[in-house]
């Protein structure tokens, strides 16, 4: 059986070798369309993960409370009043959210796992409620039925920092019909691309159509 290609009907998992191959092809296409995915090596290890960061304007509201008022303003000792060459162009009312997406491989479940974290530009992570409030309402109903219901909080296995992750225990379940359909139509698909299209909206991640149309499937 050729690696990465889904030809074994009985299993809709992704073995590690295929994961790497799928990632490689995925990253190749990402390099072409420059949407920011890259491979991150883990120091002192053979392993690694696919990552991307993105800045997304967020809804206002609770996020404004992130700005702590701690009376530190009095601490200046800096006098820059004469710099006329500076413009302040930042739209102050806009809150930006820094999303980090990491695609890891789960040996236990033999599927990819999406780890993510969102934070304001001062590095303060968003709570899950805040993440939810930034999900487009059109997606919410569907996400509640999955995979939002698999969201959990866990330490990043390589970084040791708290991340949210979409628990892989249901991945095979929702991937199976998709893979089966592709199989019936004798169409080769890239597992990572298909999977990411399902889980991406949870975290504000859109997978451009060109991944499906132009990305060569592994064979």
């Amino acid at each position: 059986m050729s690696s990465g290609e889904v030809s074994n009907i009985s299993s809709y998992c992704l073995d590690e070798k295929s994961f790497h191959l799928c990632c490689k092809l995925f990253l190749q296409h990402s390099g072409v369309i420059r949407d920011g995915w890259s491979w991150a090596d883990v120091k002192g290890s053979e392993e690694g993960y696919v990552k991307k960061t993105a800045i997304i304007p967020a809804k206002l509201g609770s996020l404004l409370n992130h700005k702590a008022d701690d009376g530190m303003n009095a601490v200046t000792g800096v006098d820059e009043c004469d710099d006329e060459a500076v413009g302040d162009y930042i739209v102050q009312s806009q809150v930006l959210v820094h999303y980090e997406y990491h695609i890891l491989y789960s040996i236990g479940h033999q599927v990819p796992i999406l780890y993510f974290r969102a934070s304001t530009l001062d590095g303060q992570p968003l709570s899950l409620d805040e993440v939810w409030s930034n999900i487009h309402p059109n997606y919410r109903q569907r996400l509640l039925q999955g995979p939002w219901d698999t969201l959990t909080q866990q330490e990043h296995p390589f970084l040791g920092q708290p991340f949210f992750m979409l628990h892989p225990c249901h991945t095979e379940e929702f991937m199976k019909p998709l893979l089966q359909m592709a199989d019936d139509k004798k169409r080769k698909i890239n597992y990572i691309t298909t999977w990411l299209s399902v889980v991406g909206p949870v975290v504000g991640l859109d997978v451009p159509l060109s991944y499906h149309t132009e990305l060569p499937a592994p064979d």
Partner: protein
């Protein structure tokens, strides 16, 4: 073009109008300053570095950030530091430009405040100026985007204070714009745009990177060439009008970003006197929907003032404003994601939510989590009940026990260890609290090392013992009053009497668990109707009393019509039920009277069932008033999202089986009958002390319960064996 107020007017808006006039008369180039952008991982990494590496060493550290010229419009010009910022030799993200910085991490908030910011800025400005003068900046222009970050990490509170500085050298008179800025697509034909793009890509690949911060540009109708800054002399033959490129992270339609500032200073200092007009391509390289576009790049034409290369270091600016627009540091509170205790709490909550999202969407978790639980008894049952409550996220757990931990306890009592038995043993109630906090620091646990006065156990030996008993009663009353659910988990029957009475009087939900050798009963006590409600409650109960007494002589079969659909307020308590239990003289003893040795798994099963019963009750819209489910209801539509809400669960480990009997409150019950409650509520301790000091006949007389006689004889036997310590 739009006019931007100077810094002065930003700080003091009434002056804005004046500045508009001033600026309009003399169009000068203005720059969008960097906004600092930190990933959450940066703070985690700084924490690790501080703890393991820097410790108390405050010396400056090299650090690395990056900026990007591919943002869609609307985003601020950012300098980003991620967790890898401390690895200055690590890779820079593709198509991003690295910026090298210096980290000053102070040990105290005082040092952070008192650090001489002007001196830091001057030092950095001087470093840049020296590199410009020496020509080092021409060889490697990355020094031009050098930055400073001053930090203080309060690792006790997980508060971080920081202040960025992006040093920029200032021209005294500013820089004049010769023409209005235009977009590259207005200046270049499509052929030139793609030639430019190809030339830039070629330059990147020949220099082995994916982004070049500063470069030289030459173009004709058909051709565009680019080169590195250090190749200036070879590249430009005619200096009348030269074109340079700057990798521009700004997305504004009229203004360049910060990196151009120091570059212009370099150009002015090196070639300013020779250049007539300088053309600048602020290179912006966006990709939208997989479609690359550099057309949005900005083209500026400026006249550079000439600078003497030997001049003294020019004035530097660059400390970042805080979100309020003032010159001041920023701070961020990361206790939510860094404090292990807070992390444990949010993880536990999220895990429970998962259950709701995935399996039981209508589950009301808040109702469970906010329930205050009083555990009377911190032995095998108490330990297991507490652990299961914690599993449900219950935060408020209080233990009452008067025993110390003995050597035989830890193997069965899940909250204790061998060490707890040494030196006479720790008190259970307190040791249990300590262990709960170790397991989950977010728990609000308290322990009370106290005895519960019991009927037939006289307290009238001396004034001291009476006073103590009164104090214990009051304490227990107070505890029951301040909790929502009372768990009866003691190992004697008598000790359950007082809390049963108090809880019945206070209308508190009681969950009772008792063990035999291989049998158990877990039950909820009937919850009397609120005191101010219709008192017609007692009459139906007495109308049933005839059948109650008849059932006391014939075994009550669970599921018979008499015992189905009993509402919560008419259910019996532990004492009602024992009285109506099938009567065979000697063997008619409650479970805990038979033997305190039980199969080891039993306490775990019964303890867990007690908590799960509580949770199911809480999920029922009527709570403790819910109609009792029976074994037969197992086939029916369950009353709650979690299933049935039985009155009792009686289990038989030998058969690995259980039944769900339900039984009515008994109007002659020695604990929950109206006459007992009336006396308690009227005479309080006076009545209670009579019960403690008297034999069973007192309660028997009170309730008019002749049947109790036989039953209390058995209790007496038990009392003696309890005291005799064989």
């Amino acid at each position: 073009m739009s006019v931007f107020p100077s810094d002065k007017t930003l700080l003091n808006s009434p002056m804005a109008a004046e500045s508009v006039e001033k600026a309009a008369s003399c169009p000068k180039l203005q720059f969008a300053p960097f906004s600092s952008a930190l990933e959450a991982g940066f703070w985690h990494q700084l924490t690790q570095k501080k703890l393991n590496d820097y410790r108390l060493d405050e010396s400056p550290r090299s650090i690395k950030g990056y900026y990007y010229n591919g943002d869609p419009s609307g985003l601020p010009t950012r300098l980003t530091l991620e967790f890898s910022a401390f690895d200055v030799n690590g890779p820079t993200p593709a198509y991003c430009c690295a910026a090298m910085g210096t980290l000053y991490n102070t040990n105290t908030l005082e040092a952070f405040k008192s650090t001489d910011k002007k001196a830091l800025l001057d030092e950095a400005a001087n470093e840049i100026w020296t590199a410009i003068q020496s020509g080092a900046a021409v060889e490697d222009p990355s020094i031009l985007s050098k930055f400073i970050i001053l930090t203080f990490a309060d690792l006790k509170k997980y508060h971080f204070y920081y202040w960025f500085c992006f040093p920029a050298l200032c021209f005294l008179e500013g820089i004049k714009l010769v023409k209005d800025p235009v977009l590259l697509q207005q200046k270049f034909s499509p052929q030139q745009v793609s030639a430019f793009q190809a030339a830039y890509d070629g330059l990147c690949s020949s220099s082995g990177t994916t982004a070049v911060p500063y470069f030289l540009v030459k173009y004709s109708e058909e051709n565009v060439e680019v080169a590195l800054l250090k190749d200036w002399d070879l590249f430009f033959t005619d200096l009348k009008k030269v074109t340079v490129g700057v990798y521009d992270p700004c997305t504004l339609p009229q203004h360049p970003g910060w990196p151009l500032r120091n570059f212009l200073f370099l150009l002015a200092s090196k070639w300013g006197s020779q250049l007539d007009v300088l053309e600048i391509v602020c290179f912006r390289d966006r990709t939208l929907q997989g479609c690359r576009s550099v057309q949005q790049s900005l083209v500026l034409e400026v006249k550079l003032p000439s600078l003497s290369p030997s001049a003294a270091c020019p004035k530097g600016v660059g400390w970042e404003k805080n979100p309020k627009g003032a010159m001041g540091p920023r701070s961020v509170n990361l206790s939510e994601c860094m404090d292990p205790k807070r992390l444990a709490e949010s993880s536990v909550d999220l895990n429970l939510k998962l259950m709701r999202w995935r399996l039981v969407p209508s589950l009301d978790l808040d109702k469970v989590v906010s329930t205050k639980c009083l555990l009377l008894g911190a032995g095998t049952l108490g330990c297991n009940v507490a652990r299961t409550l914690m599993g449900w996220g219950v935060r408020h757990i209080t233990f009452v026990d008067n025993a110390k931990i003995s050597y035989s306890n830890p193997v069965r009592q899940a909250l204790y260890e061998f060490e707890d038995c040494l030196n006479g043993g720790k008190t259970k109630a307190l040791a249990a609290v300590d262990r709960l906090k170790k397991i989950f620091p977010g728990v609000n646990a308290k322990g009370f090392n106290m005895s519960i006065p019991m009927p037939g156990h006289p307290v009238s030996f001396s004034e001291v013992t009476i006073a103590q008993a009164q104090k214990d009663v009051e304490q227990l009353e107070e505890l029951i009053s301040s909790h929502d659910v009372v768990f009866l988990l003691m190992d004697t029957r008598e000790s359950r009497w007082l809390p049963t009475v108090i809880a019945a009087s206070q209308r508190k939900l009681v969950v009772n668990a008792a063990l035999g050798f291989d049998t158990y009963v877990v039950m909820r006590h009937g919850l009397k109707k609120p005191k101010d409600s219709d008192t017609g409650d007692s009459s139906p109960s007495s109308s049933f009393s005839a059948s109650d007494s008849s059932s006391s002589s014939t075994p009550a079969t669970p599921g018979t019509s008499l015992f189905s659909n009993i509402p919560g307020h008419r259910l019996g308590c532990y004492f009602c039920n024992d009285v109506v239990a099938p009567g065979d003289s000697t063997r008619d003893r409650t479970l805990d009277q038979q033997c305190t040795v039980s199969r080891p798994g039993l306490a775990m099963i019964a303890g867990a069932l007690a908590v799960e019963l509580m949770v199911s009750i809480l999920q029922h819209p009527e709570g403790g008033y819910a109609v009792a489910s029976g074994s037969n209801d197992r086939m029916n539509e369950p009353p709650t999202s979690l299933g049935l809400v039985p009155h009792q669960i009686r289990g038989f480990l030998s058969r690995f089986d259980n039944v769900l009997p339900a039984s009515l409150a008994f109007d002659k019950c020695t604990a929950c009958s109206q006459v007992v409650l009336d006396h308690y509520e009227r005479d309080r301790f006076q009545f209670l002390s009579k019960v403690f000091n008297s034999t069973h006949s007192f309660l028997e007389d009170l309730t008019g319960l002749t049947l109790l006689h036989q039953e209390t004889q058995a209790a007496e036997i038990w009392d003696m064996s309890d005291d005799e310590s064989i």
